[in-house]
Symmetry: D3
Subunit: 250 residues, 6 copies
C-alpha cells in the first residue's frame, strides 16, 4: 500500500518530522511518500495561512493527477485542523485522512473524553470548528494551548514537551480528559512523555491517520462519491495548478 | 463611506450583478467599489473552488494593503457560504461581512425560521456548515437547492427564478420557513418574485451585507482583534501575493 | 425615517438615557420618538415586572394604533431580555427590534464569542433564555452580572462603570469573550471604557437596535406575517387598552 | 391539601372545563379552587394575549396575597404554553405547576417520545419555546395543530375530538410518538378517544398538573428560592394590582 | 396501591434504607414491597455491576410473573443511574420508575438548575449518560461526587453527610444549582441537612419515585406499549430466570 | 495479533457468520477467535435480551481471565448497539471494539452522513441511544429498519438483502445519506449489493471493528484507565461468573 502524506506548510524540518511519524506508524508493507506544500508559509498559525495551505496541497494532488503520477492508495493531510480535506476528497477516488479527525476517532476508541493540546491560543477556535464540522465534538473535553508558537517549539523541543505535558495535566485534572490528542504534527517523544507523566494515552495525529488509512484501505472502502465529495462541475479555472503557473517544478 | 465588495469568482457578469445589488442597497453617501477574483474559477461549486476563491480575495486585499491603496471602511465578501471571511478579518482592522451570515442575520430580525435556496444540491452541506460555524443554524428551517448550476442560471434567468420560487414554496409549506434567503449572489428580480408569489420576505445576501456594513460602520464598531481575528504571527510566506508572483497586475 | 423607541419601565431618567443613546446612534435623517411605559415599575428586575412591562409597551402601541397615530417605520423595544417583542411583531406590520437580540447580532458581526454583562445575577437566566429562544446562544461565551441593581447604578454611575469593566475583564480572561454586550439600557460612557480598558469592542443594545432598524427599513424589509407573527384571531378582550381603562391619557 | 387552579383566560366555560378536569384528577382529600383571569381575553391564541394572561394570573395571586387570603398548598397554571409560571414562582413560596411542563413530565415517565396536539398552527412555535426553556424538548417528537381555533372547538366538540385524534394518528405514524399530550385545557373525552382509537396513552395537562402538585406537596418540597425564583427587589410599581386599579372586585 | 420497590444490589442494609425511604414517602393507602437483587454485588460502582443488577431485577420480575405473583400497580427501580428500567418497561404493563429520572423530574418542577451529588467520581459519567438518554440533561448544572465509596458511606454516615453537604455547597456556588438531587439511594438525614445548611431543596430519588408512581397510577396511566416498550419477540432464551437455574428460591 | 470476537447471542449460525466476516477482514497475521454467549437468547431484539447478553459476554471474559487464558490483543463485541462494551473496557487492559461505534467511525472517515439499516423498528431507538452516548450521532442521517426479524433474515437471506437494499435507497434519497452502515452482524453479500445497487459504500460493523482493532493495537494504544474505564472497587459479587454457577463449562 502506498500512502501520500501531505505536509501543508513549506517547512522541510516539519516535513521530515511528519514523515518520521508516518513511517513509524506504518506497517512493513506500507510505503510512505511525503510531500510538502510547494508554496505558502513555513508554519500555519492563522486562517489565512490555512487557506493558502489548502490550495497548496490541492495543487500537489492536481499536479500529480495531471501528470498521471498519482498512484497512491490513500492520502494523509498532516495539518491539525487545517482546511483542505474536503477539497482533496472531491478530487480523488481514494480516501483522504485528516490528522485532526483521525486523532479524534482514535481518542473515541480508547477513552471517553479527550482534550487536544495545540500550540497557540489562536488555534483553539479553528480546531473546535474542525471537530464540530466533523461531528466529533461531543466527547471533546477541551482544546488547550501550550502557548508556544511553531518557532519556539522548534527552538526548544524539550521545553515544548514540558509545556505540553503541563497542559495535559490540567486537561485531565480540570476538564476530565482521559485521552490527550496532540494538536500539532511531528513532535517526537511527546506521546511517551504524556503516557508516562500524566498516566493517560496520548494520540499523535499523523500516526493515527496512517493507521486508519491502512484500516480503511484494508477494508476495500473509499470516499463516497454520492454526496458532497462528488467531483464538482467543470467550471473554467485560471492559473491552475498554481505551481505550474508560478513556474515551480512538480 | 467606502465599501469594498469582493466577488470571489472570476466572472465579470457575476461581478456586475453583485455590484448592481450592492449599489441598489447602498445609501446615497456610500461608495461601492467591486472587485472580482484575479484568478480562480468562473463559478464556485465545490470545496476546492471555494478555497481557491478564499485565497484570491485574500490576494486582492493583500495587494491593496501592500500598495497602500486600501482605503475602505468595510469589506463585503460576496460568496454565499464561501471560505475566506475569517482570513480577511485577520488581515484587516475594518469589519468584514459575509453575505451568507448577513442574510441569516437579517432573516432572524424579520422572522422566526428561514430557509436558504441555493443552486446545486452539493452546496447544501457547505452552507449548513457555514451557518453552524457562524452560530446561526438554530432558526434555519432548511437549506434547499433549486437544482440549477451557475451556467444554467445565467443561460435562463427567468427559468431560474421560477425554480427558486417553486423551491421557496416548498420551504414554506414543508419546512415552516417564514423568510427565504437567496443562497447565491446577484439574481435580479428574485426577491420581488418570492415576496409576491410566496408571500414571505426574501433576503438578498449582498443587499443584507451592504446594509449591515453601513450599520456597523455607523456605530463606529469594527472586528475585535482580541481573539481569533488578531493578526497572525509573521511566518515567512512564499509567492505572496500570488497575483504578483503570477504577473497579474493589481 | 421615524423610529419609536419604547422604554418598558416607568422611569423618566431611564427613558432619557435610552433616548440619548438612540439619538446618538441615529442617522441625521432618522427621527427618534421615545415613549416610556404608562404603568408598571420603575425598573425591571423580575419575571413579573417583565410581563407587566410587556403589556405596558403593547398598550402604548395599541393606543397609538387605535388613535390612528402610529406613523413609525420601525419600533425599538429597549428592554434587555424583557418580554414583549413577539407581541409587538404580531400587532404591527413594521419591524420590531429587541435590544438584546440586536446587541447579539452586532456582536456576531464583529467577533467570535460575546459576553453579556447585566446588573443583578437574577437576570442572568432570563437573558440566557432570550438568547436561546432567539437562536443566538451558540456564540455566547457567558452572561455575567456586575451585582448592582438599577437603583445602585443610578446612584453611583462611575462605580457602576468600574464594576462592569471589571466583569468584562473576567469575561475576556475566563470565558474567552472578544466582544462585550451591555445587558442594560442607557449607560453613558461604558462602551468607551470597555473598549479602552479591556481592549475589546462593547455593544450598546439601544444603539445596535437603532442601527439595525435603519438597515432593515433601508432594505425595504419588514416582519414576515406568514408565520407566528401573523395577527391573532379576534378574541374578545376586556379592559383593553389598559391605560384607557385605567384613565391614563395616551 | 388545597390547590389553586388558575384559568388564564376570561372564559367561564373554559374555566368550568378546567375545574372539572382538575377535580377529576384530584385525590379525595384535595380541595380544588378554580379562578379565571379577571381581565384579558376569552381565549389565548397569540403572544399578546399570553402576556395579558400572565399579568392577569399574577394579579389574582397578588390580590389574594394582599388580602391575606392566599391559603393554598400549590398553584396550577392552566394555560398550555402560556407565560407567567416564572412570575408566580417568584411571588409564592408554594410550588407552581404549569400544565404544559407537567404534561411533558408525565409523558416522559410513560413513554419515549411524545407529541403535543394543539389548536391553531400559530401556537406550535410558542409551545416548542416553552418546552425548550423547560429543558423538556429532547424527547418531543413533534408539536402539531388540529387546525381548529378555540371558538370552533367550543362550537363542535365532537368534531374537535375527531380532528385531534386524526392528528394524533399522524404523530404516531410519521413522527414516532408513543404518547400524546393534549395542548389545550379542558377537553372532555379526548384522552379516552386517543387511547382507544390510536392505541397510545394521552395526557391531559390539567390532570397531570394536579397529580404532580399532589406529589410534590406530599414530598414536602417547594420552589427553590435560591435562584431565579427568589423574590425580586422592591421596585416601585404603579397601578398594581391592576384589578384594583380597574375597580374590579377580587 | 401496591408498589414493588427493587433494590438492584444484594445488600440487606441498603435494601432496608431504601424501604424506609419508600415507606416514608408513600401515602397511607400505598403498600410498599421491597425486594433486593437475588444475585449480583453488594454495591454498584461499575458498568459491569450495573449490568448484572439489571439482569437481577429483571429476574425478580420474571420470577414473579412466571409464578403469577406479580400484583403490583407500579415498580420503582431504586438504583441511581443503573441500567434496567427499559427492560422492566418492556416486560410489564404497569409503569416503571427509575429513581434517577424521578429525582430529575422533581428537580425540574421546583427549580431551574439541579446538581446531582453521587458517591465516587467514576459514577459521574454514567449518571450523565442516564440523564442524557432520558432527555433530562438540559437543566442539569453538574454531576458531582463526594468521593466516598459505598462502604465508606456505610461505615461513617455522618461523615458522608458532611461530605455531601460540602459538595452541595460547591454545586450551588460554582455551578449555579438551585436544587440538589442525591445520587444514591437511602441516606437518611441528608435532604434535611442540605435544605438547612445549603438553603436549597434536596431531592431523594426513592421518595421522588414513590411520589411520581402514585401520581401516574392515580392518573390511570401506564407505559406506552406502542413504541420501544412493546414486548420483544419470543426469542428462545436459556437459563432464564437465572435465579431458578442457579437454584435460588424466589 | 490475536482478536477475541464475542457474539453476544447463543446462536451458532450467527456466531459462524460473525466469525466469517471477521476472518475476511483480518490481516494475514491476525488470528480471530470467536466465542458466543454461554447463556442468553438466540437473538437480541429487546433491551432485556441486550442486558442478558452484556452479562454473558462479561462472563466469557471473566472466565477466561480467571483461568489465566485471556491472551488476546483486543476484543470485538459483535452486537450492533448491544450493551456491555463499557463493562468489558473496565475489566480489560486491552482495547474493546463495539461494532456499532466502529461502523460509525468508518462511516465518518469515508462520507459526510451515514444511515444505519437495522432489522426491526424496535431497535431504532436503542441504536440511536448508542450513537448518542458514543458522541457519534451528529452525522447520522437516520436509523432505519428493514422490518425483518432475526428469524426472518435467517429464513430468507436473499429477501433480507433486497429489503435492506430497498431501505438503503430510501436513506440515500430521503435522508441524504452517502454511506450505509449495516445494523446487524454477519450478513454476507449485503455490502456488495448496496455498493452496486445503491451506489454508496456500505460498512459492515464486524469488518470495521476488526480493522480498527488492528489499527489501534498497531499504534500501541489501549483503553485509558484514567477515567470511567478504570477497574471498579472490589465489591463482593455472588454467583460470578454465572456460567460457573450454572455449571456451564468454559
Amino acid at each position: 500500500m502506498r500512502l501520500l502524506v501531505l505536509n501543508p506548510n513549506t517547512s522541510a524540518s516539519m516535513g521530515a518530522e511528519i514523515a518520521s511519524s508516518a513511517v513509524a506508524a506504518a506497517s512493513s508493507d506500507t510505503e510512505i511518500i511525503c510531500r510538502s506544500a510547494p508554496f505558502g508559509s513555513v508554519a500555519i498559525d492563522s486562517a489565512g495561512e490555512s487557506y493558502v495551505s489548502a490550495v497548496a496541497v490541492m495543487d500537489v494532488v492536481a499536479t500529480l493527477l495531471a501528470a498521471g503520477e498519482f498512484d497512491f492508495d490513500a492520502v494523509v493531510l498532516a495539518g491539525f485542523g487545517e482546511h483542505g480535506r474536503d477539497a482533496l476528497a472531491e478530487m480523488l477516488t481514494v480516501p483522504v485522512f485528516d490528522i485532526a479527525e483521525c486523532a479524534a476517532h482514535v481518542a473515541h476508541l480508547i477513552g471517553r473524553r479527550f482534550s487536544v493540546i495545540t500550540t497557540l491560543a489562536r488555534s483553539i477556535a479553528p480546531i473546535q470548528d474542525r471537530l464540530l464540522l466533523a461531528g466529533l465534538d461531543a466527547h471533546c473535553a477541551s482544546v488547550r494551548a501550550c502557548g508556544l508558537g511553531t518557532a519556539e517549539v522548534d527552538a526548544d523541543p524539550e521545553g515544548a514537551v514540558r509545556a505540553i505535558v503541563a497542559e495535559a495535566v490540567r486537561a485531565v485534572a480540570e476538564d476530565g480528559a482521559d485521552v490527550i490528542c496532540l494538536g500539532c504534527a511531528g513532535m517526537a517523544g511527546v506521546t511517551a512523555a504524556i503516557a508516562e507523566d500524566v498516566g493517560v494515552p496520548a494520540v499523535d495525529g499523523v500516526a493515527a491517520a496512517v493507521a486508519l488509512a491502512q484500516a480503511i484501505v484494508g477494508l476495500g472502502l473509499s470516499t463516497s462519491k454520492a454526496g458532497v465529495y462528488a467531483p464538482g462541475p467543470a467550471n473554467a479555472r485560471s492559473h491552475w495548478p498554481l505551481s505550474a503557473a508560478l513556474g515551480l517544478g512538480s
